[in-house]
């Protein structure tokens, strides 16, 4: 099923690109170059712009992934991360997949080398692999028996970033490196916290640390 969706997506993209690129009926050399450029530029936008490594935050012990930044001031970032959750009490270690949407509205240039981003916020959904975790409860249960998913967690976070720019003249691998922290909570903890004064912020708010290496 997942593979099918993936294939359909790429066939669709290829179709759009090809109709776009071959749509003009000119055959000059310049147009041919232009066409190739256009075709490449569309695919180029699919190349991830950075890699991220995040510790904790419900994404597993360590999650690694990459994503894309966009917007006028690159204030939006979309990530995909894969995390590893070691075995503590369960039967085995688990993989945790995360899709994450970040919003970073302000950038303060401290000097030529350092940028402070005082607000970093957003949402992410984690998906825990393993057959004990379901998206929708199995059919063996009466209708809406539990009414939530053990596999998917919706998380909200707020944090800050500090970016260190690398000198451009030196042929380094990366453009910049960003360190960030996030304070997050998930849907289960939030519904528990709103109805119980017993739960304190340290019970339902969790800290997470990350590093972003900007490649493009």
């Amino acid at each position: 099923m997942r593979l099918l969706v993936f294939k359909l997506f790429y066939t669709g993209m290829a179709f759009i690109i090809s109709t776009h690129a071959f749509g003009q009926d000119s055959i000059s050399v310049n147009d041919s170059i232009e066409r190739t450029k256009q075709y490449r530029s569309v695919w180029d936008s699919f190349i991830p712009k950075y890699v991220k490594l995040q510790y904790a935050g419900g994404m597993g012990f360590l999650a690694i992934g990459s994503g894309w930044d966009y917007g006028n001031k690159k204030q939006w970032e979309s990530d995909f991360l894969i995390g590893w959750l070691p075995r503590y009490t369960g039967k085995q270690s688990q993989l945790v997949f995360t899709i994450k949407q970040n919003y970073i509205p302000w950038s303060l240039h401290i000097n030529g080398k350092v940028i402070l981003r005082p607000l970093h916020t957003g949402l992410y959904i984690t998906s825990t692999m393993g057959r004990d975790y379901w998206i929708k409860e199995p059919d063996s249960y009466p209708d809406s028996y539990y009414g939530f998913s053990t596999r998917l967690r919706i998380n909200a976070f707020i944090g800050q970033q500090l970016t260190f720019l690398f000198r451009q003249e030196k042929p380094l691998l990366a453009k910049s490196i960003t360190c960030y922290y996030e304070i997050s909570s998930n849907d289960l903890y939030i519904v528990s916290a709103v109805t119980n004064s017993y739960l304190q912020p340290q019970d339902y708010l969790k800290l997470s640390l990350g590093v972003k290496v900007q490649l493009l």
Partner: protein, 266 residues
């Protein structure tokens, strides 16, 4: 390479700190474990030789932390109880922290308690966390001349593919020939005929439980309702306790001649 080693060791140092969480289902247990077996030793010791036993029965405390705390307070205010039985559903989502939060609240009880496995406690990796913190899902203990048999009856959680209720376990308990006990009480989370129970075996369950030495009555949670029902019309009453949100629990007193119960509102 050196930096990576440093980073990883830094992460391991941070791991010991509760500020960071790898998953709400990480199964990372800090604090006390094996509570049932520790408390059973306390109960068996303090009740030894007793012919009158008085205990509280609470259940379904999931995601009602404030109410559970109030209940613990109410029980602590009395000094006539021997122990507390929790009928299961300590957690709503089977998340690791929910077990820890409930454990920490219940640990404030001045008298020992034991906890049964509820259907919500089986969600995700909940059962393994339950077993680590509290103990196995079928267990029994003696209190004075009484025996308490606590059974996992959440068959639906295993899609009926495991021995729930475990009749082999029940048979072993039936064959318990120790002379110290004269009466038996059976506790469970979901009673027969509930949607959790393996109802194909309800009759068998009745047949087996009736054979316990000096069978008194059954206790159950799960229904979120107070009820006293003779489910099989055989004289064995099922006492169902409400969820903790309704601010009620049972107190049972078993004497030489008979038993009685009261409903406490707090």
């Amino acid at each position: 390479m050196k930096k990576i080693v440093l980073l990883v060791s830094f992460c391991f140092v941070l791991e010991s700190c509760d500020l960071f969480e790898y998953s709400p289902y990480d199964g990372k247990i800090t604090g006390e474990r094996n509570i049932n077996s520790k408390n059973i030793s306390r109960i068996e010791e303090s009740c030894e030789g007793k012919k009158v036993i008085r205990f509280a029965f609470i259940s379904d405390t999931q995601r009602w932390y404030d109410e559970t705390q109030a209940c613990v307070q109410s029980i602590n205010n009395r000094d006539d109880l021997d122990f507390v039985i929790h009928g299961g559903d300590l957690t709503d989502f089977g998340a690791t922290n929910e077990f820890k939060w409930q454990r920490d609240i219940l640990n404030a009880l001045t008298i020992p308690y034991v906890a049964l496995l509820g259907n919500h406690d089986c969600l995700a990796n909940g059962q393994q966390v339950f077993e680590s913190i509290f103990g196995s899902s079928n267990f029994s203990f003696l209190a004075g001349n009484m025996k308490f048999v606590c059974l996992n009856t959440n068959a639906l959680e295993y899609d009926y593919s495991q021995a729930v209720p475990d009749y082999q376990y029940i048979e072993n308990e039936l064959n318990d020939s120790r002379s110290q006990y004269e009466k038996t009480v059976v506790a469970m989370h979901a009673r027969p005929f509930s949607e959790q129970f393996n109802n194909n075996t309800s009759g068998l369950f009745q047949y087996y439980t009736k054979q316990f030495r000096g069978m008194q009555f059954c206790l159950n949670g799960h229904e979120h309702q107070l009820h006293q029902v003779d489910l099989f019309n055989d004289g064995i009453v099922y006492y169902g306790v409400s969820n903790i949100d309704k601010h009620r629990y049972y107190i049972f007193t078993i004497t030489n001649e008979s038993y009685n119960y009261e409903v406490v509102s707090f």
